[in-house]
């Protein structure tokens, strides 16, 4: 079920980051409603968790976030449910629907910020922005520095430079392209996204394409930490993909990989670790 939410985030067209609202220099926000899982996580990472008074139904990380009342859906937000939390700042993921909601909230006198954090560099910038907005500028800067240094660090290719296909949906097959956070994580882990040439965050492709690009690994996100291959791996048409046939799945925790996150270094390390401890079989 969670993968649905993640898919939705991944599918959203990532483009120019653009933020507006919440003038700098104003008093720090005390009652914040966060309408994206990634933003909620960032707020808690900044130590602004106690200031969060509302979240979406999908904001499940960190576990402390679950104690915050949910206001429902973040991409199709209920303005009334948000207003009922009496926020002094509402954070929204930028999309046509949320822009309408932001206008309605503005009309109610509730300050809003529309943020688009699809890529690694967005995490750094968003951390700085939210740090200032919550009165925790130092924490924001320190998160941003960690991300910046990760981005600046030279990438050490894994010994075999593992080739990965991220499969987010099976029928029709949808894979992750280069316009995405996951693609960045793969690159930083020294591996290669076989669909790096697709310039959108995600794309429908034919199975034939996956089979012919012949990835070493199929990466999938999962809520629970069970190592079972996905149900569709048993379907005969998927078994034309060598990695599926050989059961070479990278099962990644959605909680860590599903959204742009200040824990990006942790995610990269996780992936590196998986790849280094599951060596590829010698090529036939």
């Amino acid at each position: 079920m969670r993968r649905c939410a993640q898919l939705l985030v991944l599918l959203a067209l990532a483009c120019r980051p653009a933020e507006r609202g919440a003038s700098t220099g104003a008093a720090p926000a005390r009652r914040i409603v966060s309408l994206a899982p990634s933003l909620t996580e960032l707020l808690f990472a900044l130590g602004a968790g106690p200031q969060v008074v509302g979240r979406t139904a999908y904001c499940l990380y960190p576990p402390a976030a679950r104690a915050v009342p949910s206001v429902g859906d973040g991409l199709n937000p209920s303005v009334e449910a948000i207003a009922a939390r009496h926020p002094d700042l509402v954070l929204l993921y930028r999309s046509p629907q949320t822009e309408t909601a932001a206008r309605q909230l503005d009309a109610l006198g509730i300050p809003t910020m529309l943020l688009k954090d699809d890529r690694m560099e967005d995490v750094a910038r968003t951390a700085r922005l939210l740090g200032r907005a919550t009165g925790r500028a130092a924490a924001g800067d320190s998160i941003a520095r960690v991300i910046d240094s990760l981005l600046a660090a030279p990438v050490l290719p894994t010994p075999t430079r593992a080739r990965i296909a991220f499969v987010v949906w099976d029928a029709p097959p949808i894979v992750i392209g280069s316009g995405s956070y996951l693609d960045e994580l793969v690159a930083m882990a020294g591996a290669e996204n076989v669909f790096h040439d697709l310039h959108t965050p995600s794309a429908t492709v034919s199975l034939e394409t996956i089979a012919s690009r012949d990835p070493d690994w199929i990466a999938i996100l999962r809520d629970s930490l069970n190592a079972q291959p996905p149900a569709w791996a048993g379907r005969r048409e998927w078994r034309t993909v060598r990695a599926v046939r050989e059961g070479r799945f990278l099962i990644l925790p959605a909680e860590l990989f599903g959204q742009p996150s200040p824990r990006a270094p942790e995610a990269v390390a996780f992936l590196e670790n998986l790849l280094n401890h599951s060596p590829l079989p010698a090529p036939q």
């Binding site: 859906d73 949808i174 034939e208 394409t209 005969r236």
Partner: protein
């Protein structure tokens, strides 16, 4: 002669479907490659079976409900299939075959509801009641789907709909075998009803006077055509326009007699879907278009052409 041309077109479409694709397979290795045997060939055969089923179902339904604009999906089956798929996702049902099975069950549920509604108008399944019932059941299933989705999780809708419009990407020898075993029975039922269907195009009363048991014919044809459509939606999602356009092409080329029209619609539907799917796989490779988009892009201009011919006549 016409049959020969149709058969040649089918061969050409099959050939295109198995030789063209985003992966480059050297011609010499084609028959040894898994891409040919496990992906392209089953997908082509599934396209042929599904397109053919939709063509034959469309041709018989248009005569059954006496409406040249009837499409197999007009009778609420896509709504039922969508509901089935959404419920399967919302209830976290796992398993490789869950979505097709759930969609098939949903389509059968819609089929049963429409059939029951149709009987409200009398045992002879009044076609007007059938049409209205189909639209009503489709809308009702859509509403329940939306309710389930808004209560569960908005993104489930998106996934169910991705699947519902996913086309033939799930093709495998398993699905081909399943459909190949399933499809002949309803097809034979339709073919056996070919003459009564000819008579039904004259109207209910003349058909009766020419020896048709109208109630039995309508029930058989409705059930057979719907079962074909339900199978199609379960393995290939909603594919519009094939069932609408193909029967009209068939009538233009082979006349209105169902003994010729039904096989012709089956072949033409298979050809159309084969070509549409080949286009969907190759036009924007390595990305893939939903095949329903391609059939609509090809179907709508054809349809406009047909409309012009009718209004001119």
């Amino acid at each position: 002669m016409k049959w020969l041309v149709l058969s040649l077109a089918l061969l050409a479409a099959l050939l295109a479907a198995v030789t063209l694709g985003p992966a480059t397979v050297p011609a010499g290795q084609l028959f040894r490659s898994a891409i040919f045997w496990d992906l392209r060939l089953p997908r082509a055969l599934l396209a042929l079976l599904v397109g053919g089923s939709l063509g034959a179902a469309g041709a018989s339904l248009q005569s059954l409900v006496r409406n040249p604009l009837a499409d197999p999906f007009l009778l609420g089956l896509s709504g039922g299939a969508g509901l089935g798929a959404v419920l399967a996702i919302a209830l976290h049902l796992g398993g490789a075959w869950t979505l097709p099975l759930a969609a098939f069950a949903g389509a059968l549920l819609a089929l049963g509801l429409v059939f029951r509604l149709g009987l409200v108008g009398g045992s002879a399944l009044d076609p007007r009641v059938l049409l209205l019932g189909g639209v009503a059941v489709g809308a009702f299933c859509g509403a329940v789907t939306t309710a389930v989705v808004s209560l569960a999780e908005a993104s489930a809708l998106r996934n169910a709909y991705l699947w519902l419009w996913g086309g033939l990407s799930g093709a495998s020898w398993d699905t081909v075998t399943l459909v190949a075993v399933y499809v002949p029975l309803p097809l034979v039922v339709l073919l056996a009803a070919a003459r009564p269907l000819d008579l039904l195009t004259l109207g209910e009363e003349p058909a009766r006077y020419l020896g048709t048991d109208v109630a039995v014919t309508r029930r058989r044809v409705y059930l057979a055509a719907s079962l074909l459509t339900a199978a199609a939606v379960a393995v290939a999602g909603v594919i519009g326009f094939v069932g609408l356009i193909v029967p009209h092409l068939g009538r233009a080329l082979f006349g209105g007699r169902h003994r010729a029209l039904l096989p012709a619609s089956f072949l033409a539907g298979g050809i159309l879907l084969l070509l549409a799917d080949t286009l969907a796989r190759t036009a924007v490779a390595p990305r893939e278009l939903p095949v329903g988009v391609v059939t609509a892009l090809v179907g709508v201009p054809l349809f406009v052409l047909l409309l012009r011919r009718w209004t001119a006549a």
